[in-house]
Symmetry: C2
Subunit: 371 residues, 2 copies
């Protein structure tokens, strides 16, 4: 493990603290890494039908080599399947194979696999061990860290879930080479988000190095993912359960509009990162309208997103439908919509007194023309 | 609140600490009591179709009087309904009525209502506030305290759930007057359990005062429930999540056999307390066979249970089916069945090396004849 590319970060949460390990060729070492960490020998590897053919056997072999008994559980791929029916499939397999309290669930896949596996780990026998092995950029920089788990409800995203921390997050950037370009770019939306809300210098480095990152140059990739994970770890350590007054809510930059877009289009049409990309452009535009960030900054944000080939315009729906979907979103407190807006690049804040008229106008301004 | 019968206990769990309040005429004070405790104004009162006609309006009126907005959610009554379909009904009502993170779920009913409401509170929007108002003896002395929540799975009891603590437990012993005698007696099984596993003097007081308790003499009732809650609070404070080596597992005295009985008969035929009563007789018999407690003590245990009119013999099923159901139960560690046995009245311990042959013989000895 003297790999010069290996980075380790810690998420400081007292008795629930854990490490994030970032590097290359990590899957063959998984068994050795997890052996001292897990209480029992049974490990269910939850993955999907896209990721499993690529990595499942390497991961399972490494675990078996270190005495673990592995059970593969394969889910269909995609946000549309993040529902109760597939969660049930995980439970059924665990019960059928007599999984115990000392057993572990390992998520091998993207955010959907991680969210569902984590929720299953949180609720099976009232909680078993959980390991995150994210294979998409979006999951590596965001979904796998911080313990948010859950499933969607027909009426809204992530309405059911739990805060449940993993024992370790293992990020092998080699997986990004097999990730479809569209998904890789969707992950870049969350990468850019960290620069906007927390770190102006990181945003500027992205403006400079974007093409190298998109070409998957290993040093740039690891440095970029490390920076994102470090910001997320800092925020999560300060505000594990996203309290009303805490900083964790800042991570929802672009997400209130993004979730509304996903709800209106139905899950699975736009990738989550694509919806967030549009949502961040909308948030920046609204921030400018509110007199927070400058027109130049709003433009730099939209430009960096557009350079990734990400969408910057919301799909057409009546404005009222957007407002309705936002009202149903869980980031509502005492009836007022709470929005994360951009003070300037590198700093965001939560605003709960944005005039409804400004929101309406902004949505109209950022929408595609009707079909 | 200078009621001489009012007792308050604390469950010491750091930032998740909460009070247990025990007394009479408490429902009319609910709103005043909860007002300083809850973050928001929306309260869903989850109850069942048996309890609601008796107490829902009093509880709701008291809450409304203190500015809360209440939403009644009624479930069908009984363990057979502690399943995903009814949990779903709770979620649907919460979503439909725009419940938020600052909202509260209040469980008004027995263990089934409490377990389901708690699990809904643990997982709706990744966790909202939760209040327990148990109306059965069993829920008052056991299920409402300690944060175990969950639902059954067709293949086993409580296989899905979470540890999730309430903000307060409010026990009004007046409710026991309207509780059917059979359910009251079933609750006595858990009362007796505390004496067996923790407190010989309490067991002896029960032997003396049993008839007075069963006649619902108020002072005896409150003293008895208080003693049970104090024991449970002590154990839960030491071992919130039931670790493999912790004392919380002692509370499962009679439950491994009891759960097997419930699984075999199908939920809803025997009451949980009835199954536990039989399970405790079985555990005491096995303890004696293992050379732990004396024959006299095993007899005293069976006698006190029988004096309550509780069943003491297991329903007939092939012994192998009992062993199979026990193996599927979640109190299995590394393949070995862990049983809570009785060292002597007032002290129990966990045994994981009980010879299978002794378990087989004990089941045979304690079973009703085949039909």
């Amino acid at each position: 493990m003297s790999d010069p590319l290996l980075e380790t970060l810690s998420v400081a949460l007292g008795s629930r603290s854990y490490d994030i390990v970032i590097g290359t060729h990590l899957f063959a070492q998984l068994g050795a890494r997890l052996q001292p960490l897990l209480p029992g020998k049974q490990v269910a590897i939850v993955s999907n039908t896209t990721v499993a053919p690529l990595y499942l056997e390497t991961v399972a072999a490494s675990l078996r080599q270190h005495g673990f008994v592995t059970l593969p559980i394969l889910l269909p791929d995609g946000e549309a399947h993040k529902n109760w029916e597939n969660l049930q499939k995980i439970f059924d397999a665990l019960i059928q194979h007599r999984f115990e309290r000392s057993s572990t669930l390992l998520a091998l896949g993207g955010g959907v696999v991680g969210d569902m596996t984590g929720f299953a780990a949180a609720t099976f026998l009232r909680g078993v061990s959980f390991v995150q092995v994210p294979t998409t950029l979006l999951a590596q920089v965001d979904a796998s860290i911080g313990g948010k788990t859950g499933i969607n409800h027909p009426l809204g995203k992530n309405l059911l879930g739990a805060f449940y921390q993993p024992r370790q997050v293992i990020i092998d950037v080699d997986t990004l080479a097999t990730l479809p370009a569209r998904e890789r770019l969707a992950g870049m939306a969350e990468v850019i988000k960290y620069g906007i809300l927390w770190d102006a210098a990181f945003f500027e480095r992205l403006e400079q190095d974007l093409e190298g990152v998109l070409r998957l140059e290993q040093h740039l990739l690891i440095a970029t993912i490390r920076a994102c994970c470090a910001i997320k770890a800092t925020i999560v350590a300060q505000d594990e359960r996203e309290t009303a007054t805490g900083q964790r809510a800042l991570l929802n930059l672009g997400h209130t509009f993004g979730h509304a877009i996903e709800t209106l289009t139905g899950y699975g049409h736009l990738l989550h990162g694509e919806a967030v990309a549009i949502g961040m452009v909308m948030a920046a535009d609204l921030s400018q309208a509110m007199g927070l960030c400058s027109a130049t900054e709003a433009r730099r944000i939209a430009q960096l997103i557009a350079r990734c080939g990400l969408p910057v315009r919301a799909p057409w729906f009546p404005v009222e439908q957007y407002l309705e979907a936002m009202a149903r979103d869980k980031k509502v407190l005492g009836g007022a919509v709470r929005l994360v807006l951009v003070d300037h690049i590198g700093q965001a804040s939560i605003q709960s007194t944005v005039p409804m008229e400004l929101i309406r106008e902004m949505i109209g301004r950022n929408m595609s023309p009707p079909p």
